[in-house]
């Protein structure tokens, strides 16, 4: 993947520097097959060098986002994950609200839907940022029937 070299090129072009920290973060992101939280990324970064600070990870992720090499996906509950942009094929994210898994999905079926939104509401949807909440196959299998709603921790039992 030319992602690394593209990054270096962009860095130099804009007068940024190529530091080992930035290389580590980028290579970690390459290893990841699924989106990862800052926490997860930071852990793996530390396996390379425990001197790297988490603030540097944040800063590098910001930079990578500016370069459109990385996107962040907001899973709610202040759970943000990052992943390398799939330059060839952008896709949606199916976010399982039960197990937290994020699955990539073909963007095409959403396109006619997006067209409808544009037509009816003048709203230009950005499908590459679209996260679809719901329940994945595994979790559905496990709990074929169950309340989708909140599983909260309130004191009083119902009736």
């Amino acid at each position: 993947m030319s992602c690394e070299s593209y990054f270096m090129e962009q860095l130099q072009k804009r007068g940024f520097r190529l530091t080992p920290q930035r290389e580590i973060v980028l290579s970690i992101l390459h290893q990841m097959d699924s989106p990862a939280s800052v926490e997860e990324i930071f852990e793996r970064v530390q396996a390379f060098s425990n001197a790297v600070d988490i603030s540097t990870v944040y800063r590098t992720l910001d930079l990578l986002q500016d370069f459109n090499l990385v996107i962040s996906v907001d899973l709610g509950e202040s759970h943000r994950v990052f992943k390398l942009v799939d330059a060839e094929e952008p896709h949606l994210h199916l976010v399982c609200e039960h197990c937290g898994t994020v699955t990539g999905a073909d963007i095409h079926p959403a396109e006619s839907f997006a067209a409808t939104l544009l037509e009816k509401y003048g709203f230009q949807a950005d499908l590459t940022r679209l996260n679809i909440p719901g329940m994945c196959e595994n979790c559905r299998d496990q709990k074929t029937h169950s309340v989708t709603g909140s599983v909260h921790k309130h004191p009083a039992p119902l009736d």
Copy 2:
């Protein structure tokens, strides 16, 4: 709307108490025509009584969510908004990434899309929680051509 009475009923049924604070929060939510942040809700609550604490607002919103009277919508960037559930007609949220406006949209056009997801990935989408990022009509008019991407604050100019 029977929402108030439903709430009271549910409270009593489960041994919760009907407090003025809870009534205020609920009535504020009724006044809101669009989803509101905790901050906004809190401000309006204080107009009624500045003795009400923000933690009580949080707690009440949690409770209302447990009762499925309120849903929270995550707009990313740790911007959460709350709104009363539209019992009759659930709808999607079109979230303008430019001005932050949230517009309700008909859920039907999304249904065939959801069916595809179920078929292809076994993923059961929860359309009532679906937020669609993009750009609303107004913002599109204003900046007919513009970079959708990040408008960041990095030092070095390109080239």
